[in-house]
Subunit: 201 residues, 4 copies
């Protein structure tokens, strides 16, 4: 009974600090973000930051975890609306990639995190997405290809998801202007469909 308010206050503080971290990274980039910037943004002292997080790394990791959860939730909500019976995989993949590229381009935080994927525990963001995609895809495959090898599916999804994400990222970041975005998106979704296609005997 006595602990409740403290825990609530604590949860509020954590959330506030993560908001501040997100806003700061979005505005100043990962390299440009200092712990003091985050404290300022959160409107608390730097000491308080260290009361709730052991170090800067923990702050970023927590933020990524939260981003992963949110992204997974959004993905599941989107997935609900898709009518498996009328839309084919190509269409779904295409709009998903388009939406993904758009999201990265519009969300500086995600952009910055993914840009620095090797320096942050990016899997905290990607794993939930992968998981959500896996769950959402399962019924599709069960319906269309009744005996799709499920274990195989997992690896295929791993390949397909990572391929799509990082190819898209590299394209967005490095602005390889030789290739049209439309064509890239088409080729990527083509890659997805072809790769996921069960082997035809």
């Amino acid at each position: 009974m006595r602990k409740a308010p403290k825990q609530k206050r604590s949860r509020e503080m954590v959330s506030r600090l993560l908001d501040a971290t997100a806003a700061t990274i979005a505005r100043r980039g990962l390299d440009g973000t200092t712990t003091n910037h985050i404290a300022d943004q959160a409107g608390v002292s730097i000491g308080s930051v260290y009361q709730y997080f052991p170090d800067k790394e923990a702050l970023v990791e927590s933020l990524l975890t939260r981003m992963g959860e949110q992204a997974g939730r959004r993905f599941r909500q989107q997935a609900k609306k898709v009518d498996i019976d009328t839309m084919n995989l190509q269409q779904v993949a295409l709009s998903a990639i388009q939406f993904g590229i758009y999201s990265i381009r519009r969300d500086p935080l995600t952009y910055e995190m993914i840009r620095n994927w090797s320096r942050v525990p990016i899997h905290k963001l990607l794993d939930p997405l992968e998981q959500a995609f896996l769950v959402a895809a399962q019924p599709y495959f069960l319906k269309h290809y009744s005996n799709y090898p499920v274990h195989n599916l997992e690896t295929k999804l791993y390949v397909v998801i990572n391929s799509t994400i990082f190819t898209a990222i590299r394209y967005v970041i490095q602005d390889d202007s030789m290739i049209e975005e439309k064509e890239l998106v088409a080729t990527l979704s083509d890659m997805i469909v072809r790769t996921l296609e069960p082997v035809v005997h």
Copy 2:
């Protein structure tokens, strides 16, 4: 005539500094590498480093360029040995990926560079590889599919190469133990073959 020895010495120094840079990055990581470490490793003074390279960035870029050239050369040598008539694309891709993953696992330098792909001009390393792959693949496509749409091929190769590289990298770096390496390699090469397959009418 008089300049020859100087040019040679200069080339030797450049090479020595790049070796030192490579060794230092391999041992201490990109972030842990300072210009003074490089000078120490090369056995020269820090001043000499700046006599040959304007700044740290130039050092890393030159190293990546050299790595790209070497990788391209190695790739072409490997490609020579492949007998297009007896080996199919699946087999080629499979051994190439296996070799690639092995290389990254064994070469901490490549590992570190690719790990920091967004902070270094990684294209200096990847472009020659892409180019080499493109050149090596051309006869294959000419042989098997006489009128493969070449422009389309470019985008497809972009997708295929980046997908393979970054998925492999992510796999190696993050040690996603849920998936077997063998299966990943198989799935990746499968993805390559399926994606590059011309559309069958």
Copy 3:
């Protein structure tokens, strides 16, 4: 109420850092002064220096401003004692210059600052002095020459003050032993009096 002690502490730190800057420049010269020397002299860490001043330049500028304020104050105090009715301008100027030369000779800091006048914002030091002199001189001119052309006075004071300061500085610094100090001072004050003398119709 709560901010008071902090502001006090802050003011104390600023003052302490300026003291340290002054002492260090006085002892080691402007070129020989590093930010770490200043921190050492102040008995604080280098980080603290940068908590209160954005860079070295700001430190020097603040010091000059403080020096200007102090010099202006001292000048006004001296000026109070002068009895306009009994002392003439020649006498006032003479003692002022004597005092000035003495000050520079005894104060290595002022000496060093003025020696480097073109590399530091020396006007922060000289402007208050000029202003103080202008204010102090006004009643004198009002009394003796009721309708002295004020705008003209500004330029004349500019010439007179700069001439005096820099000629004295050059004399002190370069130790031109051909000329007696007494004679120089006399000639300078003579110059001042003659130059400020309103035109007689």
Copy 4:
């Protein structure tokens, strides 16, 4: 006989190095000038520079000495043309100052040297000028004021010359826009005339 060509070559080299120093300081400023820049500009190796001058300081000092000699020569040539009988001191001073300000503004080398007067042995430049002015002025005073106290004259010229030079310098460098250049020049020459004026009994 055998030494002659060497001495000639030596003199040529010294002259060449001074030219290079002058050009480099004029173009890059005193702080921006390195010994290697000078060697490049002279088209010789840095080692050769140190064959002829012990250090950078000696290079600058020699250059200032040469500048002083040239300035003195130019001054004497100008002075020849002035007709003492028809021109009065006010006119001479005025045009001299105007010419001086113009020279400093147009000659980046002189500007840069004078701007850094406290860090270079500026007297090597100014002493010959003072001397030349002293010599040139002597007959003028002898003619107009037959029993002008000569010793006094020396000090007065010291004051007048330094006052003029440094006030003008400060004006040019710091661009004190509150004061019109015309007015400053007029006031300075007024100061000169009034100060040099023999005491009227």
